[in-house]
């Protein structure tokens, strides 16, 4: 074991632990780790620059810019109000409709952006009609993550895995729609069942119906004060449709996902010149997240260069020669790890290891691509299990606390952990059935 091996492992381990235990800015930690890889000669500067996956960065920046324009347009607020009105204040319908809309929006928008817009309406509505908003907050987190798992652009983990491995938008949907649909239905049913006492119909209580209807009018007034231009909505829908088509068919005309997202963002700025500002959107982009990813890519390249990942990969392959067991180990390992560590960091580290595993597997066996789907499902869904499992959880719990609905870590884990385990069990059963 040479000194590069030890230094690279030590830099990554210290940085990783600092990120996990939230000892400082994630961007600062990962960039410092990346620079140390260069300072200690594990990577040359050109090697470090080459390690940055520009496809991932381009896709993230493109989507961030597009989401910013859409969020500022007021479309989300309008949509939330329409849904709120449609529910007529019926608790179970509020639950079903908001779960559905959160999941659908999260499939093509960043989870955090969806939560930032939808959760305040959900809390205002549920609290106003006398319900405990906590269960709705946790359900919103779950459905944003479940929805985000389905597509290439729904979750940062998917962006990294998809762009690193070359999996397209349609690959994600085609391979994940079955387990995700099952999970969505099961999780929705469980939430409804265990909270039926508070979600049951209120049609037999005149005072509850009255308060619900008054509150709906208040919400409608508050969230739709600013008139939204129909032309703006039409432009946004057209550009988003084109981008989604680009994600699906782009590969056939030589456009990868990052190029499609960047073209979409620029097109959106051009057609909405009066209502958007690229300067403002750029200033609001999450540059710290981008730098965090850049640092991670370089650190993982350092680990690879020093041979650390090869050794871990060999150890991993040595555990079993049964492909199903390997899949399940990967699913549960990423799932459990994602509950306690940053799933993006963990996935970035695991990508080269899984690539090595993939190449070492004998040809002609089961579809090796399943390894990536196991990792995607584990990394995304595992994030539901703890308050720090994903950015969506952190942001949602922060919004809830700001709205006098503080959910303690224990309260969250008590509800979320068993459901997360159940989701991983469903994924395991899916793989078992698929391979049998």
């Amino acid at each position: 074991m040479d000194s590069h091996f030890t230094i690279a492992a030590a830099i990554f381990l210290v940085s990783f632990l600092a990120i996990v235990f939230d000892l400082g800015s994630k961007a600062l930690i990962s960039m410092s780790g990346a620079l140390l890889m260069v300072v200690f000669g594990i990577l040359t500067f050109p090697q470090a620059v080459a390690a940055i996956d520009l496809d991932t960065i381009g896709l993230l920046v493109g989507m961030m810019l597009m989401v910013d324009v859409v969020s500022d347009s007021g479309i989300f607020s309008l949509m939330s109000v329409k849904i709120a009105k449609f529910t007529k204040g019926k608790p179970w319908l509020i639950f079903v409709m908001f779960a559905l809309i959160t999941a659908v929006c999260s499939t093509f928008l960043n989870n955090v952006s969806v939560i930032l817009v939808i959760l305040p309406v959900v809390i205002a509505l549920t609290r106003g009609i006398g319900l405990n908003p906590k269960v709705f907050v946790i359900a919103t987190i779950f459905f944003s993550i479940i929805g985000g798992t389905l597509t290439l652009i729904g979750d940062p983990t998917n962006v990294i895995i998809g762009t690193s491995v070359g999996l397209g938008f349609d690959d994600f949907v085609a391979n994940l729609y079955i387990p995700i649909s099952i999970i969505a239905v099961v999780v929705g049913t469980i939430f409804l069942a265990i909270n039926w006492g508070t979600l049951k119909p209120i049609s037999h209580s005149l005072k509850q119906l009255f308060v619900s209807n008054l509150l709906l009018q208040k919400i409608e007034y508050e969230f739709t004060k600013t008139e939204i231009s129909k032309a703006l909505i039409a432009k946004i829908i057209v550009v988003f449709t084109l981008v989604l088509l680009g994600f699906v068919f782009g590969d056939r005309i030589g456009l990868n996902s990052s190029v499609v997202a960047l073209i979409g963002a620029m097109l959106l700025f051009i057609v909405t010149t009066k209502n958007s500002s690229i300067d403002q959107s750029l200033s609001k982009a999450e540059w710290t997240t981008i730098l965090f990813f850049v640092g991670l890519f370089i650190m993982v390249a350092g680990l690879e260069e020093a041979g650390v990942l090869t050794i871990i990969g060999n150890e991993f392959i040595g555990i079993t020669d049964n492909f199903l067991y390997l899949l399940l180990i990967l699913l549960w390992l990423t799932g459990i790890a994602s509950m306690v560590v940053d799933n993006v960091a963990f996935a970035t580290m695991m990508i080269p290891i899984v690539m090595q595993v993939q190449t070492s597997l004998p040809a002609g066996g089961p579809d090796h691509q399943l390894l990536w789907w196991a990792m995607v499902l584990g990394a995304c869904l595992g994030g539901c299990g703890s308050p720090i499992g994903s950015s969506a959880n952190v942001v949602a719990l922060g919004i809830a606390a700001k709205n006098d609905c503080k959910i303690s870590s224990f309260e969250y884990v008590r509800i979320a952990f068993p459901i997360t385990i159940l989701m991983l069990v469903i994924c395991s059963l899916y793989f078992i059935v698929l391979l049998s």
Binding site: H204, L206, K207, L209, F210, L214, Q217, K218, Y221
Partner: protein, 319 residues
């Protein structure tokens, strides 16, 4: 979890603060109609019991909103006098009655609003500088109509809570009305320019005090001393025709603020939801019935108060 009475009080306060009492009343009626539509009663007795419970909750809000209570009372009276218990259609039949009462109330509100606006527009003259404060649908109606009528005037907005002031700015801006914004604690610097003060109010109570937005008291006092004409815009249906409660409705909020030097100082910040201003401090009370002096308003109030006695005895028997 908040009790229902407090929940309704807070909802009323929130909405009234944002859109004014008349719009709150309208929202209340629509919400009531929809609630009755969606309600599935066990039997007529259940409907009457639940309606009565709602009525009790609404009439005991803090503060009481007379326009709403009167409407609810009218609906309740209509239901009782028609003796509809046992109707084969159940509460669906009652729903029609409620719907009719609501439509009638909305029609009355529209007519009153039209008359009140017409009286108000007559008070806006060339080169007037009109001071406004809170969001009052009646005051805004008058300003918009005066603008439409081509009257040349400008408005000074007394700046108060950011959200309310911002809303006023947006509304006046949309209406094409010239305006300036002056913080309410700096009004003394522009008081010589102001020719009229236009204010709305929630109600007039039996102590002949106008319940208005927080901050109104200071403004009325200041301009009363300067003898600048102060106009109160209020429909007579907003009069509170019952004995007022002693308590002033207040909020007490403890805030933790971080100062520039990062020192955390905890202090008690007390916010009051409304002011009570003596009616006699106003010069003109613009109602749907015409423009009255405080004395004339008092006389009208007393007359209505006496007329309401039998209802009051029945309706507020718990006082």
């Amino acid at each position: 979890m908040l009790p229902f009475s407090q929940k309704i009080s807070e909802l009323f306060l929130d909405i009234e603060g944002e859109v004014g009492t008349t719009a709150l009343n309208n929202m209340f009626l629509i919400a009531l109609k929809k609630a009755i539509h969606d309600f599935e009663e066990k039997n007529d007795a259940d409907f009457f019991a639940q309606f009565y419970e709602l009525l009790q909750l609404v009439k005991n809000t803090e503060p009481r909103v007379s326009l709403i209570i009167d409407n609810l009372y009218e609906i309740w009276k209509a239901l009782l006098t028609d003796k509809l218990k046992g109707h084969p259609e159940g509460h669906r039949h009652l729903e029609k009655k409620v719907g009719a009462a609501i439509l009638s109330s909305q029609k009355t509100t529209r007519e009153e609003r039209k008359k009140l606006t017409m009286h108000g527009v007559g008070q806006v003259h060339k080169n007037d500088v009109i001071l406004i404060h809170s969001i009052s649908g009646s005051v805004l109606d008058v300003l918009f109509e005066a603008k439409k009528a081509g009257k040349d005037f400008r408005v000074v907005i007394a700046e108060q809570e950011a959200e309310k002031t911002q809303q006023l700015i947006e509304l006046l801006s949309e209406g094409g009305i010239r305006f300036q914004v002056v913080p309410e604690y700096m009004l003394s610097h522009v008081e010589s320019e102001v020719t009229k003060v236009f204010l709305g109010g929630v109600t007039i109570n039996d102590q002949l005090a106008v319940v208005g937005d927080s901050g109104s008291n200071a403004i009325v006092s200041e301009f009363h001393l300067r003898e600048t004409p102060i106009y109160l815009f209020m429909s007579t249906r907003k009069f509170s025709l019952w004995k007022s409660r002693e308590s002033h409705h207040t909020y007490k909020v403890k805030n933790i603020k971080t100062l520039a030097n990062d020192k955390h100082i905890t202090y008690e910040r007390i916010k009051f939801s409304h002011d009570r201003i003596p009616l006699e401090f106003y010069d003109h009370i613009v109602t749907e019935a015409g423009i009255l002096t405080p004395k004339e308003t008092e006389k009208l109030y007393r007359k209505k108060y006496d007329e309401r006695k039998p209802w009051r005895d029945k309706f507020f028997q718990d006082q």
